[in-house]
């Protein structure tokens, strides 16, 4: 369970959200500039709330006194443009979170190989991100965010970088992968087809507030 109750003054409005996210996928929709990405960044610790609390499976990540930095939160984040490290190979990208946790090289290699196989990019481990299609990049980003077994997963417009043809296929793949996860998962999208595909529950944001919470 992910519990969020945060306030933050932004340039155009005061962001103020109170929400509980159970295991499974919850979609976040809303016009651009409504605060969808801000919500993800507040949960990941990339933004500091002015006040309020963030709590993940009973652990307080942010409250009036303490603020856990992003690198100690164990929250997977898939960025809108995937943010793959261009100077690292696919395998190094996927293993990055394991390296951060000082996994021994052997264990790291085995885990990365297993992940690449699972995401059907087993032959791409030595490639660099600029040599991949956007669909492949998306899988690398997802594998990288899941490699260290995060306690929550945040996806910011994971399909927006794809062209319409690949989009349908990748959406099905992503849905299958996310369905297997048993962690709170927030997926930001502005596409109604995506929203319908991924989640029964939808949070609609407008000017930094939840204006709709339901199917």
């Amino acid at each position: 369970m992910l519990r969020v109750a945060v306030d933050k003054q932004l340039r155009d409005f005061t962001f103020s959200v109170r929400v509980e996210v159970p295991d499974g996928v919850t979609a976040i929709v809303g016009a651009s500039g409504s605060g969808k990405t801000t919500l993800l960044r507040l949960i990941a610790g990339l933004l500091r709330p002015d006040s309020g609390t963030v709590e993940l499976t009973g652990r307080s990540l942010s409250n009036g006194r303490a603020f856990v930095p992003p690198f100690r939160r164990d929250i997977g984040f898939v960025f809108a443009d995937y943010a793959l490290f261009p100077h690292l190979s696919v395998a190094q990208n996927v293993g990055y979170g394991l390296r951060a946790r000082r996994y021994p090289a052997g264990a790291r290699r085995r885990r990365v190989r297993a992940l690449l196989e699972r995401f059907e990019i087993g032959s791409l481990g030595g490639e660099h991100p600029n040599e991949l299609s956007s669909g492949q990049r998306q899988r690398v980003a997802l594998a990288r965010a899941l490699a260290f077994e995060p306690k929550a997963l945040l996806l910011d417009e994971p399909l927006s970088a794809l062209d319409p043809q690949t989009r349908d296929r990748v959406r099905d793949e992503l849905r299958a992968i996310l369905a297997e996860l048993t962690i709170p998962t927030l997926l930001v999208t502005h596409d109604e087809a995506d929203r319908a595909a991924f989640s029964e529950r939808v949070l609609r944001l407008s000017a930094g507030r939840i204006v709709q919470d339901g199917p």
Binding site: A44, L46, R72, F77, A83, P86, Y96, G97, A100
Partner: protein
């Protein structure tokens, strides 16, 4: 017509740069070259140049990298002023820099008595050579590094942090590798500027064999004393050193 004018202008400037350098090499007599480099003062100058530029480069990286990062990323009051101040040594004449260093760090300078009380004499020492080099050369590195850090996509640094790397490791594994071409370019410029340093060095550190007589100062002294062959040999050594570093770094940067 315009293309011809561009070609002529380009050719003239390139020729103007190449001709004197070629002239240096043409003036060189191989036997005199070996003999000139074998003299103790030439060896001292070469050793001193290598040691002091290595030290000044190390200091420039150690202090210039955090400064460049702060200028690229930080939002602090007076950032623009600091930015301008850092660039000042590039436009201040080296002789003025040397005089300024002498007036502050020299024995009778502002900080002289305090340093003397601590048993430290800076002027006319090897330390003074390094200080002069850092003063005139570090801005080249800081400028390039600042530009390099500015171009690194901050989302990549954010991604690194969400994956579990703290700020220092993120800097080492993401920011520095991605800024590496700019950092290397700045290093080369800064090192070359330090290697060629003359004006500030002779004002602040003097021209003492084995202590402050670097290669450019030795070239000057040889020429002053009428030893054109010796001056030419050292000058060619300087050019060869610079060229070797530039080529090596370009090869590294391509990988």
């Amino acid at each position: 017509m315009i293309r011809a004018a561009i070609a002529v202008a380009s050719a003239l400037l390139v020729a103007f740069i190449v001709l004197p350098l070629a002239g240096l090499v043409l003036h060189l007599e191989p036997r005199a070259f070996a003999a000139a480099l074998a003299t103790p003062s030439a060896r001292n100058a070469l050793r001193l140049s290598v040691v002091t530029t290595a030290l000044s480069l190390g200091l420039t990286v150690a202090f210039g990298t955090p400064l460049a990062y702060a200028l690229a990323r930080g939002r602090f009051p007076g950032r623009r002023v600091v930015d301008a101040v850092v660039d000042l040594p590039i436009v201040v004449p080296p002789a003025v820099a040397g005089l300024a260093l002498l007036l502050v760090f020299g024995r009778n300078g502002t900080l002289g008595p305090a340093l003397h009380a601590l048993g430290i004499t800076l002027s006319f020492s090897t330390a003074a050579v390094v200080m002069a080099q850092v003063f005139v050369a570090s801005p080249f590195y800081v400028r390039a590094a600042r530009g390099g850090f500015t171009t690194v996509d901050r989302t990549l640094e954010a991604a690194s942090e969400t994956l579990g790397m703290g700020p220092l490791r993120t800097f080492a594994y993401v920011t520095v590798p991605l800024a590496a071409p700019a950092l290397l370019g700045g290093l080369v410029l800064s090192w070359a500027r330090a290697l060629g340093e003359f004006g500030a060095t002779i004002m602040f550190a003097g021209n003492l064999t084995g202590i402050s007589q670097t290669l450019p100062l030795a070239v000057y002294l040889d020429l002053e004393s009428g030893d054109v062959a010796g001056a030419t040999a050292l000058a060619v050594t300087l050019v060869a050193l610079s060229l070797a570093i530039v080529i090596a770094v370009r090869a590294l940067a391509r990988d």
